[in-house]
């Protein structure tokens, strides 16, 4: 086995026996009957060679436990397995599998330790190893933090290689040939005389021998699939309408449930009057759920229309009702008693800032909604024997645990089916659909219940991105930035989110300094401090989390200091950057756009560089100031994730991340009034539409020390690059999102 392989040997030791029909994967649920993930009708025996590969007599199934919320990870996980298993990408069934500790995401370890991603010191690496071991011991299966590829890169290739060698060993036993004389191709073992034995024919024999453990991974130069343009496994179904999302599923005898929950988040229901709703067509009943009600009907529309007609008397919640009070709490949080940590304190910042010429600025970032286009839903069936739930979610065992708790059934009697989701951006790390769906289904045992959120209800229940603010000071002299102080305050995301998960976190919020703390510029006097603004709205991870606000603050203010120093925005960043593979990303973006300083004619280019989730990303945005407002013309993006496994999807995700970031920075905010958000559909919070979308050119670099994921890192540099471009084009410095409060866009 390759050096440094950290995952549990146990994962390979459980599954070498023939298993009964309707088999489940993974040690904990090995004997449990389930419909998926084995294809319906597949007959035993099948060889469950490890938690990721099942070879049955009819079909090969690969298990891709990281949830696919649109970022394409089902495909990249399948490709990692297929590469070493020697099957084609369109050959296997692809299953998300059940919740299982074997699928613990040790790729999250880097986010759990207070070391910069570029710090590869023995101390930092030891801390990461310790964090990974802890994650494995907890069986923490969670998709997030752009960690699917880092988690899967070795594990899944190894899973494929082990399965391949095991099948070869079975073929050797049958044929009497030496394993060394056998080759594999497209799901078949090839004997020296050219005879081909499909893996599926060898299923029973492979199940009867111990898995071959001593395998080597192929050199990337030998890859057939990885690193080359491939067709995502879900693309065709998504272009034909065949893909079944959670909202599309039905079961015989199913009813529809539409929700009304107190929009003052966390507060209760004093009382309600459902008389009018109950008299409406298609409505059968009204059921109480935590902090609200659900209307049961024979059609989604009947249910949603009737839910609106229920008169609810809501209790008042704990956080301030109105947005101005949220900002007042935020402003007051810049005080010693609210300071969480001084993360960096280099040189002598106080002396440097005591003299003349100090530049001061204040930056703000609003609450934002996730609002993926598929609204939240969940399909649940509870009986007296157990429960079954179909829902796209990023923390499977937490869903299972919540349903178990609500129904009183033991966890092993709760079957969870993960699904392709119509987007997440962090939304499907929460449980606002799971809880009421399980509550309703538990009250209607024997009847399948599909709980649906109207778009309005989804907006109202969405835990927003952190509210954040920065107070910044710096000193620039001709040709140099001498000092910079970054004071950042946020509503702490991790405490809020992990608290809801029942895993309270202690200490300073790890996300508040992101986008600022990793700064790899050599500024002689540098301080980064964070504060906590508490008692405000509950908040949640929003694509790129802390870096989505911190990156805006740091790279906009650095740009102010660069201009004050009379320097070129791109060249100054290159000159200041102390990490080689970071600097190469900035240089690449400059080369891609043919950077040559100011453009004139109302055109402006802005550059920003942010490292998040270990990925350095540099973006250049080009705008034109027209009579009708700012027009976005071009964006160039250079990012270093190491080897790019799925180049088409890589480009698509980067483009999407840029659109996500720009659209929200330009056009969106959530504001509270009377305890509830005022924006409840897309006309008030739409992100970006196609007419605002610039051309976006993407380049991947591979100079960094570790392989990384690309879901989130393109987001943080986009907003500051745009703000810096607007400054270059117009001279107007925008220090608060959304930008359309200060300038018009075409």
């Amino acid at each position: 086995m390759k050096d440094g392989m950290t995952f549990s040997r146990r994962a390979f030791l459980f599954g070498s026996a023939a298993v009964a029909g309707g088999v489940a994967f993974g040690p904990a649920v090995f004997a449990q009957d389930m419909a998926p993930p084995l294809p319906q009708g597949a007959a035993p025996p099948a060889a469950t060679i490890n938690p990721w590969v099942v070879i049955g007599p009819e079909r090969i199934t690969v298990v891709t436990p990281h949830a696919d919320v649109g970022q394409g990870v089902a495909s990249v996980q399948a490709a990692l397995i297929a590469e070493e298993l020697d099957i084609d990408l369109d050959q296997p069934d692809v299953s998300f599998g059940p919740p299982d500790p074997a699928y613990a995401n040790t790729g999250l370890a880097g986010e759990f330790v207070p070391f910069e991603a570029y710090d590869l010191s023995p101390e930092a690496e030891a801390a990461r190893k310790q964090a990974a071991d802890w994650i494995a011991s907890q069986g923490m299966q969670m998709t997030g933090g752009s960690s699917t590829v880092p988690d899967s890169y070795d594990k899944l290739r190894l899973a494929g290689a082990v399965a391949r060698e095991t099948v070869k060993a079975a073929a050797a036993k049958r044929s009497g040939m030496a394993v060394a004389d056998l080759t594999t191709e497209a799901g078949q073992v090839v004997l020296p005389d050219g005879t081909r034995i499909p893996y599926t024919e060898l299923a029973a024999e492979a199940a009867a021998i111990p898995p071959v453990e001593n395998v080597a991974l192929r050199d990337p130069s030998e890859w057939r699939i990885l690193g080359k343009p491939m067709q995502r496994v879900d693309v065709e179904a998504k272009a034909t309408g065949a893909m079944k999302f959670g909202l599309d599923l039905t079961l015989d005898g199913m009813v529809y449930a539409a929700l009304r929950v107190n929009p003052y988040k966390g507060a209760g229901l004093n009382g309600y009057d459902a008389a009018e709703a109950l008299a409406m067509p298609g409505v059968s009943s009204v059921v109480e759920v935590t902090n609200g009600i659900a209307v049961i009907a024979s059609n989604s529309w009947y249910a949603m229309r009737a839910a609106e007609a229920v008169k609810c008397d809501w209790a008042q919640g704990d956080y301030p009702p109105d947005q101005s009070e949220h900002w007042a709490v935020m402003e007051a949080s810049f005080a010693d008693e609210h300071r969480e940590k001084i993360w960096r304190d280099e040189g002598d910042v106080d002396t440097a800032l005591a003299g003349d010429g100090v530049i001061e600025a204040e930056y703000r970032a609003p609450y934002l909604a996730h609002q993926p286009l598929e609204p939240l839903s969940a399909l649940v069936l509870v009986t007296d024997e157990g429960a079954e739930i179909w829902v796209g979610h990023q923390i499977p065992n937490a869903v299972q645990g919540m349903v178990a708790q609500i129904t009183g059934h033991p966890v092993e009697k709760v079957v969870f089916h993960n699904l392709y989701s119509g987007g997440s951006f962090g939304h499907r790390l929460e449980f606002e659909n799971i809880r009421p769906a399980a509550e309703v289904a538990n009250k209607m045992r024997g009847t399948p219940v599909k709980l649906i959120f109207s778009r309005e209800e989804d907006f109202l229940q969405d835990f927003p991105r952190q509210l954040s603010m920065a107070r910044l000071r710096g000193v620039a002299r001709e040709g140099t930035i001498e000092a910079a102080e970054f004071l950042i305050s946020s509503t702490p995301v991790m405490a809020s989110q992990m608290g809801r998960l029942g895993m309270p976190v202690e200490g300073p919020d790890a996300q508040t300094p992101m986008g600022v703390r990793p700064m790899s510029y050599g500024i002689p006097n540098l301080r980064v401090s964070t504060y906590a603004a508490t008692g405000l709205s509950p908040v949640s991870s929003w694509r790129s989390v802390g870096a989505s606000t911190g990156g805006f603050f740091s790279e906009s203010f650095i740009d102010e200091l660069i201009h004050a120093a009379g320097l070129d925005p791109l060249q100054a960043r290159i000159d200041m950057c102390k990490i080689d593979y970071h600097r190469k990303v900035i240089e690449a973006a400059g080369e891609m756009c043919g950077w040559q300083g100011p453009l004139g004619d109302g055109k402006g280019r802005g550059v920003a560089f942010v490292e998040s989730f270990g990925v350095p990303v540099c973006e250049v945005v080009e705008v034109t100031a027209t009579e009708n407002g700012i027009r976005l013309d071009n964006v160039w993006v250079a990012a270093d994730v190491g080897p790019v496994l799925d180049p088409v999807n890589f480009q698509n995700l980067v483009q999407g991340g840029v659109v996500w970031a720009l659209g929200h920075a330009m056009n969106c905010e959530l504001t509270y009034a009377g305890g509830q958000v005022q924006q409840t559909n897309y006309q008030a919070h739409e992100g970006m539409r196609i007419h605002q979308c610039p051309a976006i050119e993407v380049r991947g670099l591979a100079n960094g020390p570790k392989i990384r994921g690309i879901g989130e890192p393109p987001v943080p540099p986009a907003a500051p690059a745009l703000a810096n471009a607007i400054f270059a084009a117009t001279g107007q410095r925008i220090r608060e999102m959304p930008f359309n409060r200060f300038i018009d866009f075409v």
């Binding site: 919320v69 649109g70 970022q71 394409g72 067709q231 995502r232 879900d234 693309v235 065709e236 998504k238 272009a239 034909t240 309408g241 893909m243 079944k244 999302f245 909202l247 599309d248 039905t250 529809y256 298609g282 059609n299 989604s300 529309w301 009947y302 993926p372 286009l373 598929e374 609204p375 392709y420 989701s421 119509g422 987007g423 997440s424 951006f425 649906i452 778009r455 088409v648 999807n649 698509n652 995700l653 483009q655 999407g656 991340g657 840029v658 659109v659 996500w660 659209g663 559909n681 897309y682 006309q683 739409e686 992100g687 970006m688 539409r689 196609i690 007419h691 979308c693 051309a695 976006i696």
Partner: protein
Amino acid sequence: MIELSVNGETRQVDVEPDMPLLWVLRDELGITGPKYGCGVAQCGACTVHVDGMAVRACQARIGDLAGAEVLTIEGLGAGTLHAVQQAWIDHQVPQCGYCQTGQIMQAAALLDMNPAPTDEDINKTMAGNLCRCGTYVRIREAIHAAAAKMAEN
């Protein structure tokens, strides 16, 4: 009882006349290609063709559709892939994919009326179709590719 044609088949439904076509298709007829995204014609995920025109199914009252001919993504290619669908696959447009059936129906309607749209034409016609994943660059590319393919045939 209201009778209409859906993807070439005559269907009868017995629902409130105010029910939007979207929910008739999805919950009464089991046709789930048209998606619910906003319910107020802000996202375009429910886009279908009614008598040849792209419409938001969430805004079309079933009571107004007696005798109408409705085409959904399921019937677009008539048993094969429509050029727009093929372009969507070739250019790997979808990420989450939830908006894409509506995008494809809108794009197909655009090409019916304008076989060689410019970027500006695409921006105007597709601006009502929201994609939260941000696949717009590829949507433009795929529409141009489909237009070129349809011009060949």
